[in-house]
Protein backbone atom coordinates (compact mmCIF):
# COMPACT_ATOMS: atom_id res chain seq x y z
CA UNK A 1 0.00 0.00 0.00
CA UNK A 2 1.64 3.22 -1.12
CA UNK A 3 -0.39 6.33 -0.58
CA UNK A 4 0.86 9.58 -2.08
CA UNK A 5 -0.65 12.75 -0.59
CA UNK A 6 1.03 14.74 -3.36
CA UNK A 7 -1.15 12.98 -5.91
CA UNK A 8 -4.22 13.78 -3.84
CA UNK A 9 -3.24 17.46 -3.81
CA UNK A 10 -2.67 17.40 -7.59
CA UNK A 11 -6.02 15.75 -8.13
CA UNK A 12 -8.09 18.12 -5.99
CA UNK A 13 -8.58 20.88 -8.66
CA UNK A 14 -9.90 18.20 -11.03
CA UNK A 15 -12.02 16.81 -8.23
CA UNK A 16 -13.82 20.13 -7.72
CA UNK A 17 -14.45 20.42 -11.49
CA UNK A 18 -15.89 16.91 -11.50
CA UNK A 19 -18.00 17.56 -8.41
CA UNK A 20 -19.50 20.62 -10.07
CA UNK A 21 -20.49 18.61 -13.15
CA UNK A 22 -21.88 15.79 -10.98
CA UNK A 23 -24.04 18.25 -9.03
CA UNK A 24 -25.23 19.89 -12.26
CA UNK A 25 -26.23 16.52 -13.69
CA UNK A 26 -27.97 15.67 -10.44
CA UNK A 27 -29.88 18.96 -10.24
CA UNK A 28 -31.11 19.05 -13.83
CA UNK A 29 -31.65 15.29 -13.96
CA UNK A 30 -33.79 15.49 -10.81
CA UNK A 31 -35.95 18.25 -12.25
CA UNK A 32 -36.47 16.27 -15.48
CA UNK A 33 -37.34 13.11 -13.56
CA UNK A 34 -39.76 14.95 -11.24
CA UNK A 35 -41.61 16.62 -14.12
CA UNK A 36 -41.63 13.65 -16.53
CA UNK A 37 -42.53 11.24 -13.73
CA UNK A 38 -45.58 13.36 -12.91
CA UNK A 39 -46.52 13.42 -16.58
CA UNK A 40 -46.29 9.60 -16.80
CA UNK A 41 -48.27 9.20 -13.57
CA UNK A 42 -51.05 11.50 -14.81
CA UNK A 43 -51.14 9.83 -18.23
CA UNK A 44 -51.53 6.45 -16.51
CA UNK A 45 -54.76 7.76 -14.98
CA UNK A 46 -56.31 8.67 -18.33
CA UNK A 47 -59.29 6.30 -18.63
CA UNK A 48 -58.28 4.92 -22.02
CA UNK A 49 -56.31 1.81 -22.80
CA UNK A 50 -54.88 3.57 -25.86
CA UNK A 51 -52.96 5.89 -23.53
CA UNK A 52 -52.15 3.74 -20.50
CA UNK A 53 -50.92 0.72 -22.42
CA UNK A 54 -48.20 2.46 -24.48
CA UNK A 55 -47.11 4.63 -21.54
CA UNK A 56 -47.03 1.63 -19.22
CA UNK A 57 -45.04 -0.50 -21.66
CA UNK A 58 -42.50 2.16 -22.52
CA UNK A 59 -41.84 3.11 -18.89
CA UNK A 60 -41.64 -0.55 -17.85
CA UNK A 61 -39.12 -1.08 -20.63
CA UNK A 62 -36.98 1.87 -19.58
CA UNK A 63 -37.11 0.84 -15.94
CA UNK A 64 -36.01 -2.74 -16.63
CA UNK A 65 -33.07 -2.08 -18.94
CA UNK A 66 -29.62 -0.74 -18.01
CA UNK A 67 -29.08 3.01 -17.95
CA UNK A 68 -25.66 2.43 -19.52
CA UNK A 69 -27.10 0.91 -22.71
CA UNK A 70 -29.81 3.59 -22.83
CA UNK A 71 -27.10 6.25 -22.72
CA UNK A 72 -25.21 4.50 -25.54
CA UNK A 73 -28.44 4.43 -27.49
CA UNK A 74 -29.04 8.17 -27.03
CA UNK A 75 -25.41 9.05 -27.60
CA UNK A 76 -24.82 7.01 -30.77
CA UNK A 77 -28.27 6.66 -32.33
CA UNK A 78 -29.61 10.20 -32.01
CA UNK A 79 -26.84 11.64 -34.25
CA UNK A 80 -27.73 9.01 -36.88
CA UNK A 81 -31.21 10.49 -36.85
CA UNK A 82 -29.76 13.95 -37.28
CA UNK A 83 -30.10 15.05 -33.65
CA UNK A 84 -26.75 15.98 -32.17
CA UNK A 85 -26.47 17.05 -28.55
CA UNK A 86 -23.46 17.47 -26.30
CA UNK A 87 -22.50 14.50 -24.14
CA UNK A 88 -23.59 16.37 -21.03
CA UNK A 89 -27.05 17.13 -22.43
CA UNK A 90 -27.48 13.55 -23.59
CA UNK A 91 -26.42 12.25 -20.20
CA UNK A 92 -28.71 14.56 -18.25
CA UNK A 93 -31.70 13.71 -20.43
CA UNK A 94 -30.89 9.99 -20.26
CA UNK A 95 -30.59 9.85 -16.48
CA UNK A 96 -33.65 12.09 -16.03
CA UNK A 97 -35.72 9.88 -18.33
CA UNK A 98 -34.52 6.71 -16.61
CA UNK A 99 -35.43 7.96 -13.16
CA UNK A 100 -38.76 9.42 -14.29
CA UNK A 101 -39.93 5.82 -14.66
CA UNK A 102 -39.23 5.36 -10.96
CA UNK A 103 -40.69 8.66 -9.79
CA UNK A 104 -43.91 7.95 -11.71
CA UNK A 105 -44.56 5.05 -9.35
CA UNK A 106 -43.86 7.27 -6.37
CA UNK A 107 -46.41 9.80 -7.63
CA UNK A 108 -48.89 7.03 -8.36
CA UNK A 109 -48.63 5.78 -4.78
CA UNK A 110 -48.98 9.36 -3.52
CA UNK A 111 -52.08 10.00 -5.63
CA UNK A 112 -53.66 6.72 -4.58
CA UNK A 113 -53.00 7.58 -0.93
CA UNK A 114 -55.18 10.72 -1.09
CA UNK A 115 -58.37 9.78 0.80
CA UNK A 116 -61.33 9.11 -1.45
CA UNK A 117 -63.33 11.67 0.54
CA UNK A 118 -61.22 14.40 -1.04
CA UNK A 119 -62.35 13.30 -4.49
CA UNK A 120 -65.96 13.18 -3.33
CA UNK A 121 -65.70 16.63 -1.78
CA UNK A 122 -64.31 18.01 -5.04
CA UNK A 123 -67.23 16.44 -6.91
CA UNK A 124 -69.71 17.80 -4.37
CA UNK A 125 -68.25 21.30 -4.77
CA UNK A 126 -68.60 20.89 -8.53
CA UNK A 127 -64.91 21.64 -9.09
CA UNK A 128 -63.78 21.23 -12.68
CA UNK A 129 -61.31 18.39 -13.30
CA UNK A 130 -58.33 20.72 -13.63
CA UNK A 131 -59.07 22.46 -10.33
CA UNK A 132 -59.63 19.12 -8.61
CA UNK A 133 -56.12 18.06 -9.59
CA UNK A 134 -54.24 21.33 -9.06
CA UNK A 135 -56.01 22.54 -5.91
CA UNK A 136 -57.02 19.35 -4.11
CA UNK A 137 -55.28 16.16 -5.16
CA UNK A 138 -51.75 17.10 -6.22
CA UNK A 139 -50.92 19.39 -3.27
CA UNK A 140 -51.74 16.54 -0.89
CA UNK A 141 -50.15 13.83 -3.01
CA UNK A 142 -46.86 15.65 -3.59
CA UNK A 143 -46.43 16.47 0.07
CA UNK A 144 -46.58 12.77 0.85
CA UNK A 145 -44.05 11.73 -1.79
CA UNK A 146 -41.26 14.24 -1.09
CA UNK A 147 -39.20 11.80 1.06
CA UNK A 148 -39.53 9.02 -1.52
CA UNK A 149 -38.48 11.40 -4.30
CA UNK A 150 -35.49 12.39 -2.19
CA UNK A 151 -34.46 8.74 -2.02
CA UNK A 152 -34.39 8.64 -5.79
CA UNK A 153 -32.25 11.77 -5.93
CA UNK A 154 -29.71 9.94 -3.78
CA UNK A 155 -29.98 6.86 -6.00
CA UNK A 156 -29.48 9.08 -9.03
CA UNK A 157 -26.37 10.58 -7.46
CA UNK A 158 -24.89 7.09 -7.34
CA UNK A 159 -25.69 6.52 -11.01
CA UNK A 160 -24.09 9.75 -12.25
CA UNK A 161 -20.65 8.04 -12.68
CA UNK A 162 -22.19 6.02 -15.52
CA UNK A 163 -22.17 9.23 -17.58
CA UNK A 164 -18.40 8.90 -17.90
CA UNK A 165 -19.09 6.15 -20.45
CA UNK A 166 -20.32 8.79 -22.88
CA UNK A 167 -17.34 11.07 -22.14
CA UNK A 168 -18.98 13.36 -19.57
CA UNK A 169 -16.25 14.57 -17.22
CA UNK A 170 -18.03 14.16 -13.90
CA UNK A 171 -16.13 12.97 -10.83
CA UNK A 172 -15.28 9.49 -12.11
CA UNK A 173 -14.45 10.82 -15.57
CA UNK A 174 -12.04 13.36 -14.07
CA UNK A 175 -10.50 10.67 -11.86
CA UNK A 176 -9.95 8.35 -14.79
CA UNK A 177 -8.47 11.13 -16.92
CA UNK A 178 -6.10 12.07 -14.12
CA UNK A 179 -5.14 8.42 -13.59
CA UNK A 180 -4.37 7.93 -17.27
CA UNK A 181 -2.14 11.00 -17.38
CA UNK A 182 -0.20 10.35 -14.20
CA UNK A 183 -0.51 6.55 -13.79
CA UNK A 184 -1.77 7.08 -10.27
CA UNK A 185 -5.01 5.17 -9.87
CA UNK A 186 -5.20 4.64 -6.13
CA UNK A 187 -5.52 8.23 -4.94
CA UNK A 188 -8.11 9.73 -7.33
CA UNK A 189 -10.37 6.66 -7.24
CA UNK A 190 -10.22 6.50 -3.44
CA UNK A 191 -10.87 10.22 -3.10
CA UNK A 192 -14.02 10.10 -5.21
CA UNK A 193 -15.16 6.86 -3.55
CA UNK A 194 -14.95 8.54 -0.14
CA UNK A 195 -16.58 11.68 -1.55
CA UNK A 196 -19.58 9.66 -2.71
CA UNK A 197 -19.98 7.99 0.68
CA UNK A 198 -19.78 11.36 2.46
CA UNK A 199 -22.19 13.13 0.08
CA UNK A 200 -24.81 10.39 0.10
CA UNK A 201 -24.55 10.05 3.89
CA UNK A 202 -25.04 13.80 4.39
CA UNK A 203 -27.88 13.78 1.86
CA UNK A 204 -29.63 10.95 3.70
CA UNK A 205 -29.33 12.87 6.99
CA UNK A 206 -30.79 15.97 5.33
CA UNK A 207 -33.59 13.89 3.87
CA UNK A 208 -34.45 12.41 7.26
CA UNK A 209 -34.60 15.91 8.75
CA UNK A 210 -36.90 17.01 5.92
CA UNK A 211 -39.09 13.96 6.44
CA UNK A 212 -39.50 14.80 10.14
CA UNK A 213 -40.47 18.37 9.29
CA UNK A 214 -43.07 17.23 6.78
CA UNK A 215 -44.62 14.77 9.22
CA UNK A 216 -45.10 17.34 11.99
Amino acid sequence: MNWDWGAVADFMPHFWDGLLVTLQVLAIGSVISFVLGLVWALLMRVPSRWVTWPVGTVTEFIRNTPLLVQLFFLFYVMPEWGLTFSALTTGVVGIGLHYSTYTMQVYRAGIEAVPVGQWEAATALNLPLRRTWTAVILPQAIRRVVPALGNYVIAMLKDTPILMAITVLEMLGEAQLFARETFQFTEPLTVIGVAFIVISYLASLALRALERRLVH
Binding site: M1, N2, F61, R63, N64, T65, P66, L67, L68, V69, Q70, F72, F73, Y76, V77, E80, W81, Y102, Q105, V106, A109, P147, A148, G150, N151, Y152, I154, A155, L157, K158, D159, T160, P161, I162, M164, A165, L172, A175, Q176, A179, F185, T186, L189, T190, I192, G193, F196, I197, V198, S200, Y201, A203, S204, L207, R208, E211
Partner: protein, 236 residues
Protein backbone atom coordinates in the same frame (compact mmCIF):
# COMPACT_ATOMS: atom_id res chain seq x y z
CA UNK B 1 -26.28 -8.65 -38.95
CA UNK B 2 -24.16 -11.66 -39.82
CA UNK B 3 -24.14 -14.91 -37.84
CA UNK B 4 -20.65 -14.14 -36.57
CA UNK B 5 -21.90 -10.99 -34.92
CA UNK B 6 -24.87 -12.83 -33.43
CA UNK B 7 -22.42 -15.30 -31.96
CA UNK B 8 -20.69 -12.36 -30.28
CA UNK B 9 -24.00 -11.28 -28.79
CA UNK B 10 -24.75 -14.83 -27.61
CA UNK B 11 -21.40 -14.99 -25.87
CA UNK B 12 -22.23 -11.62 -24.30
CA UNK B 13 -25.53 -13.00 -23.00
CA UNK B 14 -23.73 -15.98 -21.51
CA UNK B 15 -21.21 -13.73 -19.72
CA UNK B 16 -23.97 -11.48 -18.40
CA UNK B 17 -25.96 -14.47 -17.11
CA UNK B 18 -22.89 -15.97 -15.44
CA UNK B 19 -22.02 -12.68 -13.79
CA UNK B 20 -25.63 -12.24 -12.70
CA UNK B 21 -25.78 -15.69 -11.09
CA UNK B 22 -22.42 -15.39 -9.30
CA UNK B 23 -22.99 -11.89 -8.00
CA UNK B 24 -26.57 -12.73 -6.96
CA UNK B 25 -25.25 -15.68 -4.94
CA UNK B 26 -22.53 -13.58 -3.30
CA UNK B 27 -25.02 -10.77 -2.76
CA UNK B 28 -27.49 -13.14 -1.09
CA UNK B 29 -24.82 -14.46 1.28
CA UNK B 30 -23.71 -10.90 2.16
CA UNK B 31 -27.34 -9.80 2.59
CA UNK B 32 -28.21 -12.56 5.03
CA UNK B 33 -24.97 -12.39 7.02
CA UNK B 34 -25.05 -8.59 7.38
CA UNK B 35 -28.84 -8.39 7.73
CA UNK B 36 -28.91 -10.97 10.53
CA UNK B 37 -25.85 -9.36 12.12
CA UNK B 38 -27.83 -6.13 12.42
CA UNK B 39 -30.20 -7.86 14.84
CA UNK B 40 -27.34 -9.32 16.93
CA UNK B 41 -27.30 -8.77 20.70
CA UNK B 42 -23.76 -7.39 20.70
CA UNK B 43 -23.54 -3.67 20.05
CA UNK B 44 -20.15 -4.06 18.31
CA UNK B 45 -21.51 -6.58 15.77
CA UNK B 46 -24.53 -4.35 15.08
CA UNK B 47 -22.26 -1.34 14.61
CA UNK B 48 -19.97 -3.15 12.17
CA UNK B 49 -22.93 -4.39 10.14
CA UNK B 50 -24.43 -0.89 10.02
CA UNK B 51 -21.06 0.54 8.99
CA UNK B 52 -20.85 -2.00 6.17
CA UNK B 53 -24.28 -1.09 4.79
CA UNK B 54 -23.61 2.65 5.08
CA UNK B 55 -20.29 2.43 3.25
CA UNK B 56 -21.35 0.05 0.51
CA UNK B 57 -24.71 1.68 -0.10
CA UNK B 58 -23.12 5.10 0.05
CA UNK B 59 -20.76 4.57 -2.82
CA UNK B 60 -21.58 3.94 -6.43
CA UNK B 61 -21.42 0.42 -7.91
CA UNK B 62 -19.37 1.69 -10.85
CA UNK B 63 -16.78 3.31 -8.59
CA UNK B 64 -16.59 0.08 -6.60
CA UNK B 65 -15.93 -1.81 -9.83
CA UNK B 66 -13.18 0.64 -10.83
CA UNK B 67 -11.67 0.50 -7.37
CA UNK B 68 -11.52 -3.29 -7.25
CA UNK B 69 -10.24 -3.45 -10.81
CA UNK B 70 -7.54 -0.78 -10.64
CA UNK B 71 -6.67 -0.07 -7.02
CA UNK B 72 -6.60 -3.56 -5.50
CA UNK B 73 -3.91 -4.88 -7.88
CA UNK B 74 -1.77 -1.74 -7.56
CA UNK B 75 -2.01 -1.19 -3.84
CA UNK B 76 -2.40 -4.67 -2.43
CA UNK B 77 -1.05 -6.82 -5.23
CA UNK B 78 -4.31 -8.76 -5.61
CA UNK B 79 -4.99 -9.26 -9.27
CA UNK B 80 -8.44 -10.70 -9.87
CA UNK B 81 -9.70 -12.09 -13.16
CA UNK B 82 -12.38 -9.73 -14.54
CA UNK B 83 -15.23 -12.15 -13.81
CA UNK B 84 -14.36 -12.34 -10.12
CA UNK B 85 -13.62 -8.64 -9.86
CA UNK B 86 -17.06 -7.91 -11.29
CA UNK B 87 -18.72 -10.52 -9.06
CA UNK B 88 -17.00 -9.13 -5.97
CA UNK B 89 -17.89 -5.50 -6.72
CA UNK B 90 -21.53 -6.20 -7.60
CA UNK B 91 -22.06 -8.81 -4.87
CA UNK B 92 -20.69 -6.57 -2.12
CA UNK B 93 -22.63 -3.49 -3.27
CA UNK B 94 -26.00 -5.09 -3.94
CA UNK B 95 -25.54 -7.34 -0.91
CA UNK B 96 -25.55 -4.18 1.20
CA UNK B 97 -28.92 -3.20 -0.27
CA UNK B 98 -30.15 -6.76 0.31
CA UNK B 99 -29.05 -6.57 3.95
CA UNK B 100 -31.57 -3.77 4.51
CA UNK B 101 -34.31 -5.95 3.02
CA UNK B 102 -33.35 -8.86 5.29
CA UNK B 103 -33.23 -6.63 8.36
CA UNK B 104 -36.58 -5.04 7.52
CA UNK B 105 -38.30 -8.38 6.95
CA UNK B 106 -36.97 -9.83 10.22
CA UNK B 107 -38.09 -6.73 12.10
CA UNK B 108 -41.55 -7.04 10.55
CA UNK B 109 -42.21 -10.52 11.98
CA UNK B 110 -44.89 -10.37 14.69
CA UNK B 111 -43.08 -9.69 18.03
CA UNK B 112 -45.19 -12.39 19.67
CA UNK B 113 -43.32 -14.96 17.57
CA UNK B 114 -40.01 -13.87 19.06
CA UNK B 115 -41.49 -13.83 22.56
CA UNK B 116 -42.88 -17.30 21.99
CA UNK B 117 -39.38 -18.46 21.12
CA UNK B 118 -38.00 -16.90 24.30
CA UNK B 119 -40.77 -18.50 26.38
CA UNK B 120 -39.85 -21.88 24.92
CA UNK B 121 -36.21 -21.11 25.86
CA UNK B 122 -34.88 -21.32 22.32
CA UNK B 123 -31.37 -19.97 21.90
CA UNK B 124 -31.09 -16.74 19.82
CA UNK B 125 -29.76 -18.75 16.91
CA UNK B 126 -32.60 -21.29 17.13
CA UNK B 127 -35.13 -18.44 17.25
CA UNK B 128 -33.60 -16.92 14.14
CA UNK B 129 -33.33 -20.20 12.25
CA UNK B 130 -36.58 -21.90 13.26
CA UNK B 131 -39.00 -19.03 13.92
CA UNK B 132 -37.99 -15.69 12.44
CA UNK B 133 -36.33 -16.54 9.13
CA UNK B 134 -38.94 -19.04 7.88
CA UNK B 135 -41.59 -16.33 8.28
CA UNK B 136 -39.42 -13.45 7.10
CA UNK B 137 -37.99 -15.03 3.94
CA UNK B 138 -41.25 -15.16 1.92
CA UNK B 139 -41.78 -11.46 2.68
CA UNK B 140 -38.31 -10.69 1.31
CA UNK B 141 -39.00 -12.12 -2.14
CA UNK B 142 -40.80 -9.14 -3.78
CA UNK B 143 -38.13 -6.59 -2.76
CA UNK B 144 -35.40 -9.10 -3.65
CA UNK B 145 -37.03 -9.47 -7.04
CA UNK B 146 -36.70 -5.72 -7.63
CA UNK B 147 -33.13 -5.78 -6.38
CA UNK B 148 -32.32 -8.63 -8.77
CA UNK B 149 -33.49 -6.45 -11.68
CA UNK B 150 -31.27 -3.64 -10.38
CA UNK B 151 -28.40 -6.13 -10.23
CA UNK B 152 -29.06 -7.21 -13.81
CA UNK B 153 -28.85 -3.56 -14.85
CA UNK B 154 -25.69 -3.23 -12.76
CA UNK B 155 -23.97 -6.07 -14.61
CA UNK B 156 -23.84 -3.85 -17.72
CA UNK B 157 -21.31 -1.66 -15.89
CA UNK B 158 -18.54 -4.26 -16.15
CA UNK B 159 -18.44 -3.64 -19.89
CA UNK B 160 -16.63 -0.40 -19.06
CA UNK B 161 -13.78 -2.55 -17.71
CA UNK B 162 -13.59 -4.29 -21.06
CA UNK B 163 -15.38 -7.42 -19.90
CA UNK B 164 -17.23 -9.07 -22.78
CA UNK B 165 -20.79 -8.93 -21.47
CA UNK B 166 -23.96 -8.12 -23.39
CA UNK B 167 -23.48 -4.34 -23.37
CA UNK B 168 -19.86 -4.78 -24.50
CA UNK B 169 -20.85 -7.04 -27.38
CA UNK B 170 -23.27 -4.30 -28.43
CA UNK B 171 -20.38 -1.84 -28.62
CA UNK B 172 -18.32 -4.29 -30.69
CA UNK B 173 -21.16 -4.81 -33.16
CA UNK B 174 -21.64 -1.06 -33.42
CA UNK B 175 -17.97 -0.64 -34.30
CA UNK B 176 -18.13 -3.49 -36.81
CA UNK B 177 -21.26 -2.28 -38.60
CA UNK B 178 -20.87 1.49 -38.09
CA UNK B 179 -24.56 1.49 -37.32
CA UNK B 180 -26.05 1.65 -33.86
CA UNK B 181 -29.86 1.90 -33.82
CA UNK B 182 -30.48 -1.75 -34.66
CA UNK B 183 -27.96 -3.39 -32.35
CA UNK B 184 -28.75 -1.24 -29.31
CA UNK B 185 -32.45 -1.92 -29.79
CA UNK B 186 -31.71 -5.66 -29.78
CA UNK B 187 -29.47 -5.35 -26.72
CA UNK B 188 -32.13 -3.41 -24.79
CA UNK B 189 -34.76 -5.97 -25.80
CA UNK B 190 -32.58 -8.85 -24.61
CA UNK B 191 -32.07 -7.16 -21.24
CA UNK B 192 -35.81 -6.61 -21.02
CA UNK B 193 -36.54 -10.27 -21.73
CA UNK B 194 -34.03 -11.41 -19.09
CA UNK B 195 -35.61 -9.01 -16.58
CA UNK B 196 -39.08 -10.32 -17.46
CA UNK B 197 -38.01 -13.94 -16.95
CA UNK B 198 -36.39 -13.06 -13.61
CA UNK B 199 -39.57 -11.31 -12.41
CA UNK B 200 -41.66 -14.31 -13.43
CA UNK B 201 -39.32 -16.73 -11.69
CA UNK B 202 -39.31 -14.71 -8.48
CA UNK B 203 -43.11 -14.51 -8.49
CA UNK B 204 -43.28 -18.29 -8.72
CA UNK B 205 -40.81 -18.59 -5.87
CA UNK B 206 -42.86 -16.19 -3.74
CA UNK B 207 -46.00 -18.23 -4.32
CA UNK B 208 -44.24 -21.42 -3.32
CA UNK B 209 -42.61 -19.99 -0.19
CA UNK B 210 -45.81 -18.27 0.96
CA UNK B 211 -47.75 -21.49 0.51
CA UNK B 212 -45.11 -23.07 2.78
CA UNK B 213 -46.08 -20.78 5.67
CA UNK B 214 -49.79 -20.82 4.83
CA UNK B 215 -50.10 -17.35 3.31
CA UNK B 216 -51.53 -16.00 0.10
CA UNK B 217 -49.13 -14.16 -2.21
CA UNK B 218 -49.49 -10.40 -2.21
CA UNK B 219 -52.45 -9.38 -4.34
CA UNK B 220 -51.34 -8.36 -7.80
CA UNK B 221 -47.72 -9.11 -6.92
CA UNK B 222 -45.35 -8.25 -9.69
CA UNK B 223 -48.04 -6.61 -11.78
CA UNK B 224 -47.28 -3.42 -9.91
CA UNK B 225 -43.67 -3.31 -8.81
CA UNK B 226 -43.22 -1.27 -5.70
CA UNK B 227 -40.26 1.04 -6.13
CA UNK B 228 -40.39 2.15 -2.50
CA UNK B 229 -38.74 -1.09 -1.48
CA UNK B 230 -36.12 -1.54 -4.19
CA UNK B 231 -33.60 -0.57 -1.57
CA UNK B 232 -31.50 1.14 -4.17
CA UNK B 233 -33.04 4.47 -3.35
CA UNK B 234 -33.71 3.65 0.25
CA UNK B 235 -30.90 5.33 2.11
CA UNK B 236 -32.98 6.70 4.95
Amino acid sequence: MTSGLWELVLRGIWTTVQLLVFSALLGAVVAFVVGVARTHQSRAVRFLAALYTTVFRGTSALIMIFWIYFVLPLSFGWQLVPMWAGTLALGLTYGAYGAEIVRGAIAAVDPAQREGGIALSFTPWQRMRLILLPQAVPEMIPPFSNLLIELLKGTALVSLMGMGDLAFSGNLVRLALQESAEIYTYILLIYFVIAFLLTRGMRGLEKKLKAGVGKEPRAGAGAARQPEVTGVGGVS
